[in-house]
């Protein structure tokens, strides 16, 4: 015969299990700690030769982790191109893959061929191709889950932000780049990055405004921030430094620029990982 107390204990145990930090929390906190350690190490090793090896290996490893997390998500969603949700995540995976290929080819140029600043190179082609799937992924997500529930007020806010950012981009990015006299190929890449960043900013902000404060917003804060804040700043700084010839290893601005890209990949990884664990 089962006593009432044993049933009560079973029920209480099922409702109040012993709480250990979940794997998700451990990974998120661990990523933040690792990001801080990497940042310190970048500045400590900045004047030494080890910096070149460290910075290239770290960025390839973290972008690889982000791609792996995106791969696990798309595997969970069965690689189904006919399903719009699965297709969205396929685009996120492709975006992450192209960007990590860009990082890998940069590292091969630097560590394998000894070219210190391989710009423009095949890596830039990978990075620029990566913008297209990221744009499609954000747009697909926004159309599927944002648009049906977006209020008029939110749509006006999105429109306003996009209008302001387009004016700012024209004033502070396009005009200065066009004013510089450089090789046509370099000019093309110098222009392509800010335009790609702007397109991503537009859809990422749209998604962020709609999803902010919701469960779905958590991965989007990381994904969008990695795309529109960190990456745009890093690209602009990189264009500025390479154009003015100040992209020199050992200088604080170069280290900061490299770190911005690394932080972007950390955020990208966290966005994918949180989605993988929450849904």
């Amino acid at each position: 015969m089962v006593s009432f107390n044993s049933i009560k204990d079973d029920y209480c145990l099922s409702l109040n299990p012993i709480k250990l930090p979940s794997q998700k929390k451990v990974v998120i906190v661990g990523t933040f700690i690792f990001a801080i350690l990497v940042s310190i190490l970048y500045f400590v090793l900045q004047p030494t030769n080890s910096y070149l090896v460290l910075s290239n290996i770290v960025v390839v490893a973290i972008s690889g982790c982000a791609t792996l997390a995106a791969y696990l998500i798309i595997r969970k969603y069965r690689w189904n191109i006919h399903n719009s949700f699965s297709k969205c995540w396929l685009f996120f995976f492709l975006g992450a893959l192209f960007w990590s290929l860009g990082e890998l080819s940069w590292a091969i140029y630097v560590l394998g061929f000894g070219i210190e600043v391989p710009y423009p190179s095949i890596g830039d082609v990978f990075w620029l191709i990566g913008y297209a799937p990221f744009f499609m992924a954000f747009l697909g997500y926004f159309r599927m889950f944002g648009l049906p529930f977006a209020s008029k007020k939110k749509l006006v806010v999105i429109g306003g932000i996009m209008f302001l950012s387009s004016i700012m981009m024209k004033q502070f990015l396009l005009y200065p780049i066009l004013a510089l006299e450089d090789e046509p190929l370099v000019m093309l890449f110098n222009l392509a990055y800010p335009i790609g960043d702007f397109l991503l900013i537009a859809v990422a902000i749209g998604s962020l405004v709609v999803f902010f404060g919701q469960k779905i917003g958590k991965p989007f804060i990381y994904l969008a921030s990695s795309v529109f804040i960190i990456n745009a700043i890093a690209d602009t700084l990189f264009s500025f430094l390479t154009t003015t010839g100040e992209y020199i290893y050992g200088s604080y601005l170069t280290t900061l620029n490299d770190l911005l890209f690394v932080w972007g990949y950390f955020a990208l990884f966290l966005g994918f990982y949180i989605h993988l664990k929450e849904f």
Partner: protein, 177 residues
């Protein structure tokens, strides 16, 4: 699953079929009411609150996408969502869920309570669904010993002929609709 604790639902389903666990996914929209979040596992996905239709929509889409084609989706009950969002938003949410089910060739059972929403809401639901099955309980106030009379009928079905009369529904017989 929006109106019962996840442990109760799991126990009820697994009592019938132990193998079901491997193919079962529960979206728990109930636990957040008590502020308690159960143990995270592969078969249970938590919704942190029902105030946000995009969250519900993404969770449902993600789950349907993981299960693949021909899966069976049961939403019990949609009426609970209307405690937290207005009818317009609820209809938009229902539209997105139905679209996702159709896109994935899934079966879907969505439960609505009668008499607690506006007539306009029920009309929109009738317009949206492929098949409507109505259930009713009749009580005989004169005879207190008389058991409750449960019955059902197919109110509408888009893809074939059907008989719209009421059928008795008793707990002792299995009825397949």
């Amino acid at each position: 699953m929006l109106d019962r604790p996840v442990q109760v639902v799991l126990k009820k389903i697994l009592n019938r079929n132990e193998k079901a666990r491997r193919r079962l996914k529960i979206i728990d929209g109930y636990s957040w009411l008590s502020g308690e979040k159960g143990l995270e596992s592969d078969e249970v996905i938590f919704i942190e609150n029902l105030n946000s239709p995009p969250d519900i929509s993404v969770t449902v889409s993600s789950t349907i996408c993981q299960m693949g084609e021909k899966a069976l989706f049961v939403l019990d009950s949609f009426s609970n969502i209307l405690n937290y969002v207005n009818e317009n938003l609820a209809i938009r949410l229902l539209n997105t869920i139905v679209a996702r089910l159709r896109e994935n060739n899934c079966w879907g059972f969505i439960v609505f309570e009668e008499g607690i929403h506006s007539e306009q809401f029920y009309n929109k639901v009738r317009h949206l669904m492929d098949c409507i099955v109505e259930f009713k309980i009749k009580t005989d106030e004169m005879d207190i010993n008389q058991p409750l009379k449960r019955s059902f009928r197919v109110f509408a079905y888009r893809y074939g002929e059907y008989e719209a009369r009421w059928y008795p529904l008793t707990q002792s017989k299995m009825i397949i609709v």
